[in-house]
Symmetry: C2
């Protein structure tokens, strides 16, 4: 007997028929004697509809009321899954965030979990009742409804798994695991049996959409064993685990990419202390996240160029912020471009292996791909290239690092 948390995303609970299939999936674990908490997302499409309504009602909706509206989607799925479980003889009840309670701070729309009181739920699961929790939502101390941000159901699931002391947290999604890279682009991409938290974190934050970044962080901090798997096929997925659990570490485990990048160059800024703060301070104040940053060596000891990336959605606003601060930060001109992609090579083995970055640069150079920006971390090398090179670069790097699946080889 073990304690399990199983999370089912939007496509897994797209309609009543899919919800019934999920109920059967959960029943297998109950029949095996496990205590189960299930976390559900809204039926696919629901959240988009609810968000659209709030946008139609007001250009800038009160986040407190936005949360009330969008949290209703998960409530519906939780009730329906509880009904579906009962219909096949599995005792079950739904739990809204406020009923648990799952307490969050007051940052509506992207609230952070502060405390989960599992007293009532553990009593229920101990007597064999499945707890069906509405994901993505919580409540403040003042009993207002909050949501955890897009993809927040993953975070709900991992947080509940930590509080429940669960043996495993299964994240059911529409892919059957974490791949070495996007299989829609690289046919020889392989599903990974295991991946470390650190790698998964880099994969998620570098653009792989399989898990929400915050949920991986939380899994890492609380050492929650997370499995990513498909609710559409019946086979093991990818386990996200501690580094100790992986015996043969790959130098490179995966290659992520993100199309959601735009490049801005502030050209001809004075090369003197404080200039970076002058540029990035106002951007931070405007809530614009800056990712990669490169400062060139000044050409004449006086002026230099500052290049950085922001999310594609922020590019117009970022340029406006910079123009509004031109008096403060003197510069010649601003260049911006949205036709770029970021490609990241990720692997904990990099720590002990030299030459990983060099292999990346050489592989891209051999294909005639120009690198626009480079950034690195302990277990990642990321480059910005023209977006027309994405597929070419991904396939070349996948081969170069020996990630190609054998069975797909010719």
């Amino acid at each position: 007997m073990a304690r399990l948390v199983q999370k089912f995303g939007g496509t897994s609970v797209a309609d009543v028929d899919r919800i019934k299939i999920v109920a059967q999936r959960v029943k297998r674990e109950v029949d095996a004697g496990h205590e189960v908490i299930v976390v559900v997302s809204a039926m696919s499409g629901t959240t988009n509809q609810l968000v659209a309504w709030t946008n139609q009602t007001a250009e800038l909706a009160d986040p407190k009321e936005y949360d009330v509206v969008v949290a209703s989607g998960e409530q519906v799925t939780a009730g329906l899954l509880a009904i579906a479980l009962q219909a096949i003889g599995v005792p079950a009840r739904s739990w809204m965030g406020w009923q648990i309670p799952l307490k969050t701070d007051e940052a509506h729309g992207k609230a952070r979990i502060q405390n989960i009181d599992l007293a009532e739920i553990t009593t229920a699961t101990a007597r064999g009742e499945v707890a069906v929790v509405a994901g993505f939502q919580g409540a403040t101390e003042g009993r207002r409804v909050t949501t955890l941000g897009r993809g927040g159901s993953d975070t709900s699931a991992v947080a509940l798994a930590a509080a429940f002391d669960a043996e495993r947290c299964d994240i059911f999604t529409d892919v059957d695991g974490v791949y070495t890279t996007d299989p829609r682009i690289v046919a020889r991409a392989r599903k990974l049996d295991k991946i470390t938290y650190e790698e998964m974190l880099e994969m998620a934050s570098q653009g792989a959409k399989v898990l929400q970044t915050r949920s991986v962080e939380m899994a890492m901090n609380h050492r929650v064993r997370v499995q990513v798997l498909s609710s559409f096929v019946d086979r093991p997925g990818t386990m996200v685990v501690d580094e100790d659990e992986i015996l043969e570490k790959q130098v490179v485990s995966g290659i992520a990419y993100s199309r959601d990048e735009a490049k801005i160059t502030v050209a001809g800024v004075l090369d003197r202390p404080g200039v970076a703060a002058g540029i990035f301070g106002p951007l931070a104040d405007a809530g614009i996240n800056v990712d990669m940053i490169v400062q060139n060596v000044s050409r004449d000891g006086k002026a230099t160029d500052m290049t950085f990336t922001v999310g594609k959605a922020d590019i117009t606003r970022a340029v406006k912020v910079l123009e509004a601060n031109r008096d403060h930060v003197k510069y010649e001109t601003i260049l911006s471009s949205a036709d770029v992609v970021k490609i990241s090579v990720i692997g904990v083995g990099m720590r002990s292996h030299a030459g990983v970055a060099q292999k990346m640069f050489k592989t891209l150079a051999d294909k005639g791909i120009n690198i626009q920006v480079i950034s690195t971390s302990e277990i990642k090398v990321a480059v910005l290239v023209g977006e027309e090179y994405l597929e070419l670069a991904l396939r070349a790097l996948h081969s170069a690092y020996g990630l190609d699946a054998v069975e797909a080889a010719e």
Copy 2:
């Protein structure tokens, strides 16, 4: 300055554009200095969709989970209306049943309100904030979500008006008031300026769908002045008030009808004590409501016929229950018929006027309409007739009691 409760039904909040119009309507009362609680239903169609999903998930859904699912509709409208009010400069926040809290018993699906704590809401309305309450829902002592039954938002509104000590409870719907009879059938039907609680109660329970019966009962018990009016046109509706407020009482105020009737005759039962209990006991046990009951004089001192009406949806089940009890209640045969309608003439003036029933019988006889069953109360005479006579009977009675509008007269 007054305290008002305004309730907007499904068609009044059908989509975002309608919700914005409602916000403008509420703003007028706020601008006039009133403290306002708004009660909203789900956007029209939403509740039906949610109910359909629960039915598709299980033939017999757990009422506790059914309530979780269907209560989500009002949550969405409440959030959206709060956003719409804020967008036009009116401070507002949404309130779910559990947040108020509006405490109910545990009769899920048709819960009864036990207690409303308005401490937080009155603090909010006192500082000029509109409280947008999700109608139709409450919560049990054990923090489970409950719903008040179909049309329950009317009950929410009246209960809140009573607790709020509101000067008036406006029920906005898709008709502009209470009519002497259905204007779709009788062109000369007139809108009533005022109607007594007792009459409204009879109208509602005899088939007029403008207000939920329970909400009228509650308004009568707590002397809440209810106004029924349209959110689509801007003119006064019908006030439902105490009898004292109506100076010139009409003998007959309105004529209601219900197509939801079916007639059952248990023929040839022994005319002896206990036979009625033998028939109606098992029906009550099966949760079948019996409305009109007639027992004929026995033909030979031994056998008699018992005729009664049940809801159309219950007719097959009612006959089965009677057949199952044939050993217990001996009878010759059971006759049932669903092609009947009930027509009710209603008015508090009846108490002091003789001849109201006689006029009804004569009017119907003159048109050649056979009366199948009769039942009366202090302020009502109801008859069951063949459904093909509905329009003819309504028009004839409407004229006979002097209810025809003058302006529509030729």
